[in-house]
C-alpha cells in the first residue's frame, strides 16, 4: 500500500469521524436552541390562556391554527404537574368536507412540543395541553444535516484532490532518489547524483544515499584492487615455480615416483596459474578494461575454435554437430574468444566418452549443448564464483567469466537442461 494511500485512509477516517461528531454536537445545539424557542412560545400561549381566564373567568375557545393546538380537559384538582413534553402534533391539512377515504392521507402526524399546564376556572380544575408543531425545527435540522453532509463530501473531494496533486509533487524527490537507487550499480564509475529538493527529510535521505553509495563503491574498489594486486603478486612466484620445474626436469635420472610427483606438481601449478589468470580476467571485465571493439565474425571464430579443439573431440570420441549462420557482432575479439573457448571447453570437460556436442549459431543466439551427467545443474548457482561440481577439474570461474563477458556485451547467458542435453544459450 502506498504511503499516500495509507495517509489518505487515515486522514479520511479521522475527517469523517470528526465531522460526524461535530455534526451531532451541532445538531444537539441547534435542536436545543429551537426547542427552547418552542418552549418560550408555549409559555407565551399559556400566559395568554391564564390572562384570558383571569379576565373572562372561563376557558378560551379552542381553535386550530397551523402550528398550535390547545386542548382543555377537566382533571381532578391538583393532579397536573406542569411540564414540557415531546409529543405528536396531529395536523389536519384540509377542511372536513373532503371525502372520508382520503382523509387520513391528508392528515399528518408531525413531531410536536407540548406544554402541560393547569388552570382553575371557577371551582373547576382544567388540564391545559398546548402542542406546537416542530416541523419547521425539523426542516431546519434536516437542512443543517444536509449542509454538514455536503461539507463532508466537499472536504473529502478537496482532500483527495490536493493529496493527489500536492503529495505527489511533495514526494517527487523521494521517487527520484528511489530511481537512482534502483539504477545504482556498484561496478559503475558513476556516482549517484544528488536530487534537488528543499525538503529537509529528503535532503537527509539523499545525503545518506549518496554517502552510502560512495562508501560502497569505495569498499568495492578497494576489494577489487586487492584482488587484482594479489593476483599480480602471485604471478611472479608462479612464474618462478614454473621455470624451476622446467629446469628441474632437464636433470636426468628420475625414478617412477619422482616423475609422478613432478607431473602432479606441473598439474597443480598450471591450475593455480589458470585460476589466477581467471581472477585477473574477471577483474578486468568487471572494470570494463577490455572495451576495445571490433567487428567479429562469430561464424569464423567458432569454426576456428572448433578446429582448435578437433583433436580433443577425436580423443574423447565426442560427436560434434554444428550449424553456423553468418553473424557479425561488435565486440572485443579477445573476450569473444574466451567466451567461446570456455563454453566449448566446458562442453568437452563435462562430457563423457562418446557423448555429443551441438553448436548452433543463428542471427539472434548462440547455443552450445552437450551431453553429460543426466542431472540438471542448478541454474541460479552455476554462474557464481567457485561453484563447481566436486568432479570438476576447472577453476570454478569459467562460467562466471562467460556470464560477465555476456553482461559486458549486454547479452544474456542462460542455462537449461532437457532431453539429457545441458544447453547454454547466448541471446544477442
Amino acid at each position: 500500500m502506498k504511503l499516500l494511500a495509507k495517509y489518505n485512509r487515515v486522514n479520511l477516517i479521522t475527517t469523517i469521524v470528526v465531522m460526524l461528531i461535530t455534526g451531532i454536537i451541532y445538531y444537539q445545539a441547534i435542536s436545543w436552541i429551537l426547542t427552547s424557542q418552542n418552549d418560550k412560545d408555549l409559555v407565551v400561549e399559556e400566559q395568554e390562556v391564564f390572562d384570558y381566564v383571569k379576565l373572562n373567568n372561563h376557558l378560551p375557545q379552542t381553535f386550530e391554527s397551523d402550528d398550535q393546538q390547545i386542548t382543555f380537559s377537566e382533571a381532578p384538582m391538583g393532579s397536573v404537574k406542569r411540564e414540557f413534553i415531546n409529543t405528536i402534533y396531529f395536523k389536519k391539512l384540509d377542511s372536513d368536507d373532503k371525502p372520508k377515504k382520503h382523509r387520513h392521507s391528508h392528515d399528518e402526524y408531525e413531531a410536536g412540543r407540548g406544554l402541560v399546564s393547569s388552570v382553575v376556572v371557577g371551582n373547576k380544575y382544567y388540564k391545559i395541553l398546548i402542542v406546537e408543531s416542530k416541523v419547521e425545527t425539523e426542516d431546519l435540522i434536516r437542512l443543517i444535516f444536509a449542509i454538514t453532509c455536503g461539507v463532508i463530501l466537499l472536504l473529502l473531494i478537496t482532500l483527495f484532490v490536493t493529496n493527489r496533486l500536492i503529495l505527489n509533487r511533495l514526494w517527487q524527490p523521494f521517487y527520484n532518489i528511489m530511481k537512482e537507487l534502483k539504477l545504482f550499480n556498484i561496478a559503475d564509475t558513476q556516482n549517484i547524483p544528488s536530487v534537488e529538493t528543499t525538503t529537509d527529510e529528503f535532503k537527509e535521505l539523499n545525503n545518506a544515499v549518496v554517502d552510502m553509495a560512495a562508501k560502497a563503491k569505495y569498499d568495492y574498489n578497494t576489494l577489487k584492487t586487492f584482488t587484482e594486486n594479489a593476483s599480480h603478486e602471485l604471478l611472479t612466484p608462479i612464474a618462478v615455480i614454473n621455470s624451476k620445474l622446467d629446469t628441474l626436469i632437464q636433470t636426468e635420472n628420475f625414478s617412477q615416483q619422482q616423475s609422478k610427483l613432478l607431473n602432479d606438481l606441473y598439474g597443480a601449478v598450471s591450475r593455480l596459474n589458470r585460476l589466477n589468470q581467471s581472477l585477473l580476467l574477471l577483474v578486468k571485465i568487471e572494470n570494463r578494461l577490455l572495451q576495445e571493439q571490433q567487428q567479429v565474425n562469430l561464424k569464423d571464430l567458432a569454426e576456428e575454435m572448433i578446429g582448435q579443439f578437433e583433436e580433443i573431440f577425436q580423443d574423447k570420441e565426442i560427436q560434434l554437430t554444428y550449424k553456423l549462420d553468418n553473424k557479425e557482432i561488435n565486440a572485443s575479439r579477445y573476450l569473444v574468444e574466451i567466451l567461446l573457448s570456455n563454453l566449448i571447453t566446458n562442453a568437452i570437460r563435462h562430457n563423457y566418452r562418446g557423448g555429443s556436442i551441438n553448436i548452433i549459431l543463428t542471427d539472434y543466439s548462440l547455443i552450445v549443448q552437450n551431453t553429460g551427467e543426466n542431472v540438471a545443474l542448478q541454474p541460479e548457482k552455476i554462474f557464481t564464483r567457485f561453484h563447481k561440481s566436486s568432479k570438476s577439474e576447472g577453476s570454478g570461474l569459467g562460467l562466471t567469466i562467460c556470464h560477465e563477458i555476456c553482461e559486458s556485451f549486454n547479452y544474456t547467458l542462460t542455462y537449461s537442461f532437457s532431453n539429457s542435453y545441458h544447453t547454454f544459450t547466448i541471446a544477442f
Binding site: I238, V240, D246, Q308, S341, T345
Partner: protein, 225 residues
C-alpha cells in the same frame, strides 16, 4: 647466439639463464634498470629478454632507448601484465614479441628462437636439423628429399621441438603451446601422446631417425643423441 636477460626476480632470471646456456650460446643478465641500460648501450645482443616492471625503472624506457639508438637487437618483452594495451604499446615501440608471465621456459625458448631466426637469417627461411629440412615460408617439411605431410599442429609441434632440441619439454608446455592457455584439461594429455606418436611415425616413415624420446612420463625430448 648472445642473449641478455633483464629480469629483477632472481629465481626466474637464474632459471632462464640456465635453460638458455648451452653450447654456442652466451647469456648475460641484468637485475636492475641501470645495469640493463648500460649493457644495452654497450653491447649488442641477438635477443634481449625484457621484464617491464623493475623496481628502479620501466622496461618500456629501455625499449625506447634501444629503438632511439637504432640498435638492431631483437626484443622480447616478458611481463606480468596481460593487458592488450601493454602488449600493443610494447609491440608499437618495436618489441618483436610479448610473453606473459608465467610461461614455460620451452615456450620462451621457442619465441626467442623465432625472433633470432627472423633477425639473422633474413631471406633464408630454411631450418635444418640433420636430415630434416623445414621451409618456414611454405611450411613444408622434408626428410632428405622426401616431403612429409604434417597437419598444422604437427608442424607447430615439430618447430617447437626443434627450438627446444636437447631439452625435456613438459606435456603441459606442449599442450599450452598447441592449444593455447585456454586448454583446461588438467591430467588429461592423452591427445598429446597420440599427436606425438603421429609426428614420429610420419617422420620415421620418410626415413628420418627417431629423435623424439619420452622423458619419464613428464614430457618429451627431441634429440639426436
Amino acid at each position: 647466439m648472445k642473449i641478455l636477460i633483464i629480469e629483477d626476480e632472481e629465481g626466474l632470471r637464474e632459471s632462464i639463464e640456465e635453460y638458455f646456456t648451452e653450447a654456442g650460446n652466451i647469456c648475460e643478465t641484468a637485475a636492475t634498470y641501470q645495469v640493463a641500460l648500460s649493457k644495452v648501450n654497450l653491447y649488442r645482443y641477438d635477443c634481449i629478454l625484457l621484464d617491464i616492471t623493475m623496481p628502479d625503472g620501466s622496461g618500456m624506457d629501455i625499449l625506447k632507448n634501444i629503438k632511439e639508438n637504432n640498435h638492431p637487437d631483437g626484443v622480447l618483452i616478458i611481463s606480468a601484465k596481460n593487458s592488450l594495451d601493454d602488449r600493443l604499446d610494447g609491440l608499437n615501440l618495436g618489441a618483436d614479441d610479448y610473453l606473459v608471465k608465467p610461461f614455460h621456459l620451452s615456450e620462451l625458448k621457442a619465441r626467442v628462437t623465432a625472433i633470432i631466426r627472423r633477425k639473422t637469417f633474413g631471406g633464408s627461411n630454411q631450418l635444418l636439423f640433420n636430415e630434416i629440412t623445414i621451409d618456414l615460408l611454405s611450411k613444408e617439411v622434408k626428410v632428405g628429399k622426401q616431403p612429409v605431410k604434417l597437419t598444422r599442429k604437427e608442424y607447430a609441434l615439430l618447430l617447437y621441438f626443434l627450438a627446444n632440441k636437447g631439452k625435456v619439454v613438459s606435456k603441459n608446455a606442449i599442450a599450452e603451446h598447441l592449444w593455447g592457455d585456454g586448454i583446461d584439461m588438467a591430467n588429461n594429455f592423452d591427445f598429446i601422446y597420440s599427436h606425438i606418436k603421429n609426428v614420429r611415425k610420419k617422420l620415421m616413415e620418410a626415413g628420418c631417425g627417431d629423435y623424439i624420446q619420452a622423458a619419464y612420463g613428464m614430457g618429451y625430448k627431441f634429440t639426436d643423441q
